[in-house]
Symmetry: C2
Subunit: 208 residues, 2 copies
DNA sequence: GAGGGTTCTCAACGCGATGTCGAAAATAGG
DNA sequence: CCTATTTTCGACATCGCGTTGAGAACCCTC
């Protein structure tokens, strides 16, 4: 099997690997992943098509690597709220804002990667890891709330996956129709919706 | 361009078109759409690969026709709740149950079709129509509630899309991991979540 | 600055899926 | 039975993927 990649110091090959990753990110931002051929990906990185396979096994593998990269960056987006106490709508809203900013840039292909019909094993692995991590982080927050006496009427894992999915889908929709929403209003509505979903009411709001 | 299909009376060709559609549905239930080749699709319907093109222009076209078919059947799932008055958790839950039953069978490929990265124009058209219809139906229900004095704190269209997406994602998850949920509990939790999302509280529940 | 191992590059090949064409077979009508 | 339309299929051309094996570039060490 090829695609062992380079192992020694940061030689020429590492530059190429980066170049491929960068080229891929740029291309995926412009066009559906399935329409980007390995040929043009390689060309964009300055090598021939067959050279591509020295670095990656397939387009899926590039995608997985790219996801890893981006998702690593995104880990801290919601950290503030996850660590916070009480409902803390402010922290939640800030986290959502950070998350939305990322979606605005890389949302398209990220969504493609994560929602793809038949992802290769590499993607599947990244996907499962990320979903599991996200759900467990949210679950913990929710369980903590439950112990603190806040009302939570469904299994925390289910609520966690609902919140995560809700966020993703709304952001995906924003990405698809950028002009349909005003960012501030959207963030307000989404924050409220999540708090309502989790706890039934929003402090300072008119629910009752 | 081929694929004009048969136009005269219900001759032999119409049977074949149906056979193709049926074969496609059966195959798509078993395997990711992208892995189903036109060759095996045609064979399953009893004709040679090249004969396929007499009936459809591409696999995408078959998929679009199939979506049309299924989505027509599904229109009435949530009708009861949409027409009902007040919170009517029972009607909501029944609608969700019906919807879930369909997802259990056709959810996989439907999701693939609707969530696909770069759908052909045919799919795109069906998709947009369905999403628009669904959102507007839900929006109307929500607006009616708002007028009736029930508290709704976000734009109805946004809430509608949240509810629809929430349902889809939860069902998609059920489809992916059938054993992770108990149907009754799931439906309870989802009904409550939706009511909470929309109105903040659930009648007879412990929110407050 | 020659040798030798590793790292990197690429042209050529084989494969499988798609879509097109034109000729032939089935079918229906007169 | 003869003819026109509908339906079927084999052969071809194309495109993208992944592999292979030969060799160029690089980087050490002596």
């Amino acid at each position: 099997m090829p695609a062992t990649g380079s192992r020694r110091g940061p030689t020429k090959g590492d530059q190429r690997e980066r170049a491929l990753l960068d080229a891929a990110r740029a291309l995926f931002r412009k066009r559906p992943i399935s329409q980007v051929t390995i040929d043009e990906l390689a060309n964009a990185a300055g090598i021939a098509r067959s050279g591509f396979y020295f670095y990656f096994e397939s387009k899926q593998a590039v995608l997985a690597a790219l996801c890893d990269q981006v998702l690593g960056e995104s880990d801290r987006e919601m950290a503030e709220w996850l660590a916070s106490d009480g409902l803390d709508r402010g922290a939640l809203r800030r986290g959502l804002a950070r998350s939305l900013a990322r979606w605005r840039v890389d949302g398209g292909w990220l969504r493609e990667a994560f929602v793809a019909p038949d992802p290769g094993p590499e993607i599947l692995e990244v996907r499962e890891r990320v979903v599991a991590d996200g759900c467990s982080a949210f679950s913990q927050r929710i369980e903590r709330d439950a112990r603190a006496g806040r009302t939570v009427s469904a299994p925390p894992e289910l609520l966690a996956s609902m919140v995560i999915n809700l966020r993703s889908m709304v952001f995906a929709d924003v990405f698809a129709r950028p002009d349909a929403y005003v960012e501030d209003e959207l963030l307000d509505a989404l924050s409220d919706a999540i708090l309502r979903l989790l706890y039934g009411v929003v402090p300072g709001s008119d629910a009752g």
